[in-house]
């Protein structure tokens, strides 16, 4: 099953490689990994999307907690949560395709950030499946370039992750 792990780590050089090194050394999957400092500049927050049975996820969580720089680990998928990912996609938009592409971007609540006479660069935010759906809805041939941030996640309601 797909899990989203939220991790608070000390904002120190090397913390990221400790976490990513753990995943590769123990053969765990990383579907995506994002990291940035939090409101407390001494701490960073990572979101890791991973795949695994309950036993594997339990081991991943325990192993992460064992890393000295990891302050806290939460599996967001254990409760209600919000998941968002940002995608920038550059598509060919010329002639008849141009209007169609604009309409499709509107339907997916995308924003066109950059325009040339042959292309659009579209910004799209949402859960991973929504971004996948957008890419599925357009001709593969018109996609010139895509870049995705990987998922960020947060618990719904009162549920918070902090020290």
């Amino acid at each position: 099953m797909r899990h989203i792990l939220s991790i608070l780590v000390e904002n120190e050089s090397g913390a990221l490689s400790r976490v990513s090194g753990l995943f590769s050394a123990r053969g765990y999957n990383i579907e995506s990994l994002t990291v940035a400092p939090t409101e407390d500049p001494t701490m960073s927050r990572m979101t890791i999307v991973t795949e695994g049975s309950d036993d594997v996820i339990e081991q991943i969580t325990k192993q992460l907690n064992k890393l000295v720089e990891v302050v806290k680990v939460v599996d967001l998928t254990e409760g209600n949560h919000i998941e968002r990912e940002l995608m920038l996609v550059k598509v060919r938009a010329a002639g008849k395709e141009r209007d169609e592409m604009k309409r499709l971007a509107d339907i997916f609540r995308g924003r066109i950030l950059d325009v040339t006479d042959k292309s659009y660069t579209i910004e799209l935010t949402g859960p991973g499946e929504k971004l996948d759906a957008f890419l599925g809805a357009i001709e593969p041939g018109v996609i010139l370039e895509t870049v995705r941030t990987g998922a960020s996640g947060i618990g719904r309601g009162e549920r918070i992750l902090r020290v």
Binding site: G14, S17, A25, E58, Q59, Q63, N65, V68, E69
Partner: protein
């Protein structure tokens, strides 16, 4: 007063009460060595290769409860030390490794003797630090000692660039330290402990299975009291030998790939298993699917939550220091009127005795060739079972574990997790350093001993009267055994050709060498060697080449799928 980074490094070691540092100098650590030279509280032991320094610090720690400290230079100093660090990491040995680094401004420039020490050692340390500012040096050293010795112990590395050892700052050594991201659970959950005790008291076919965690946490006396109070059978893993007396009738021998028949059968057949500071390693339980039994309840006490339910699902997990948890269990049992069902226990013991009748460790005592098992038995007799025994890795290691009965913890020093050939001799140096009056023997083979043979020179320099028991079968014995069993007798590269004359070699290093070729000479040679209290004696026993270690569970098989000597 302002002190340089080099002075601070040494002052920190003094503050921590470090007696010995095992190391090897080089460019990046010259300032630190200069400060070592100017004081006499911390003594330095000069090894002949950095791997030896780390193994010596490791043996020092394993045999004494103290923390081991190693000091090496940047680049090749570090890469040579990696095997030693990984060895200590796999066996959870508390250790601080101080490494020199090129100056901060040169880091990343491919400078002479530069390597990414923190990157290279990251997967084989509990934690590591690169100190970029001398102001952080003292607190980092404090953290290193704290991390290495608390929770599940392990090696911690502090990488110090050369300019940091030159820069000066005020020296303040913190008395205590706390890290918000590091708070190991050390006290077992009371409810879980109660549940565990209840299970134990209701057990019909109990088994107590304990590992290196009992030794690391000095929980031997608690374990011994508990086993005797309950009257249960007890097994110690390779890492745990000596935590329950090996001569006690309740001790059933080691479990696992080369464990005793009775222990493996009991491990598989028990209805309640108490696992203490052990981790259900592949060499102990074999295939977890085969090990699984729906009707067996497992209690697992460990300081490391990630060791619990990693390979085997357990029913009652207890995270905490094993000594404290065992103490709590003892209190509960002592205050309870309930005792395990004596009839069930009697039936269980008679089943175990039945298994013991297989006499799985028997070997040909009438052989005209020297049997390695016989050498270990004689070693046991002559040292009265009271020596510190280090070993390398292979057949000799298994025979030492099977035939030397360890009655005390920290007497059996071997690389169980990583299985590092070359560990035995340098480890013995550390053992002898911290136990100067004790009898120390290194059981080894002609292949393993050559991996760190250069340390014979260190032994000479520091007058370490270690006795080297070389079981010389002219083969990498364990490799040969696997090739015989599983590779159709194709002995690919396992024959040790062009062996040195070990007697002459020992003499060249300034030691005593003895070569023994007949079974009748074994006892006399051992007596002669151990009588030489001041000298290192290298005993080269020419043993039966075809001897194999039994019982044996082939890799990936189940606990009860043992090959016994008689079946071949």
């Amino acid at each position: 007063m302002q002190l340089t980074g080099a002075e601070i490094t040494i002052r920190c070691l003094q503050e921590e009460g470090v007696e010995y540092v095992f190391g090897y100098p080089g460019g990046a650590v010259l300032n630190i060595y200069d400060e070592l030279f100017k004081q006499d509280k911390v003594k330095h032991v000069l090894v002949r290769h950095e791997q030896g320094a780390v193994h010596a610090a490791d043996g020092y720690s394993r045999s004494s409860q103290k923390i081991g400290v190693a000091l090496v230079t940047s680049g090749p100093g570090v890469t040579n030390a990696v095997t030693g660090i990984a060895t200590a990491y796999m066996d959870s040995i508390p250790m601080v490794v101080i490494t020199g680094q090129v100056p901060t401004h040169a880091i990343g420039q491919d400078a002479f003797q530069e390597c990414d020490t923190v990157g290279i050692t990251r997967p084989c340390v509990k934690h590591n630090f690169l100190v970029k500012d001398v102001k952080e040096l003292a607190s980092t050293m404090k953290k290193a000692f704290y991390l290495a010795t608390t929770g599940r112990p392990g090696p911690v590395l502090v990488d110090i660039p050369k300019d940091v050892t030159q820069a000066a700052t005020e020296f303040v050594y913190p008395k205590t330290i706390s890290l918000r991201s590091y708070n190991p659970v050390t006290k077992g959950h009371a409810g879980q402990i109660k549940k565990a005790v209840q299970l134990l008291l209701e057990a019909k076919r109990p088994m107590i299975y304990t590992g290196g965690g009992v030794i690391l946490n000095n929980a031997s006396s608690q374990l011994t009291r508990l086993v005797r109070l309950l009257g249960f059978p007890c097994t110690n893993t390779l890492m745990g030998l000596g935590s329950f007396p090996g001569t006690d009738p309740q001790f059933t021998g080691m479990p696992g790939m080369h464990g005793t028949y009775e222990t493996n059968m009991a491990m598989q057949d028990c209805d309640v298993m108490l696992a203490v500071g052990a981790r259900f390693d592949d060499r102990v339980i074999g295939d977890p699917k085969h090990f699984y039994r729906a009707d067996r309840r497992i209690i697992h006490i460990d300081i490391d939550p990630s060791s619990i339910s990693k390979r085997v699902k357990v029913d009652v997990p207890i995270v905490g220091y094993v000594a404290d948890v065992l103490e709590e269990m003892l209190k509960l049992i002592e205050s309870s009127p309930q005792r395990p069902d004596p009839a069930a226990l009697k039936a269980w013991w008679s089943q175990i005795k039945e298994w013991q009748r297989k006499d799985c460790l028997k070997y040909d005592r009438a052989s005209k060739l020297i049997k390695p098992q016989f050498v270990i038995e004689k070693l046991y007799e002559i040292t009265k079972g009271d020596a510190f025994i280090t070993s390398d890795v292979g057949q000799h290691q298994m025979w030492a574990a099977q035939y030397y009965k360890f009655d005390k913890p920290r007497r059996w020093i071997n690389s169980g997790g990583l299985g590092t050939m070359g560990f035995g001799l340098p480890a013995a140096m550390g053992v002898q350093m911290v136990n100067p009056d004790a009898t120390v023997a290194c059981v080894t083979g002609e292949a393993s001993i050559q991996m760190c043979i250069q340390e014979l020179s260190t032994c000479k320099q520091y007058h370490l009267p270690i006795k080297i028991v070389n079981l010389n079968n002219r083969y990498m014995g364990m490799v040969r055994q696997w090739q015989e069993f599983f590779y159709g007798n194709r002995y690919a590269e396992s024959y040790m050709d062009a062996l040195p004359d070990f007697v002459k070699l020992s003499e060249a290093y300034g030691h005593v060498g003895l070569k023994i070729e007949k079974p009748g000479d074994v006892e006399g040679a051992l007596k002669e060697a151990f009588a030489q209290k001041e000298r290192l004696v290298f005993l080269d026993f020419i043993t039966d080449q075809s001897e194999n270690v039994f019982p044996m569970i082939p890799g990936g098989k189940g606990l009860t799928e043992m090959i016994l000597a008689e079946e071949l």
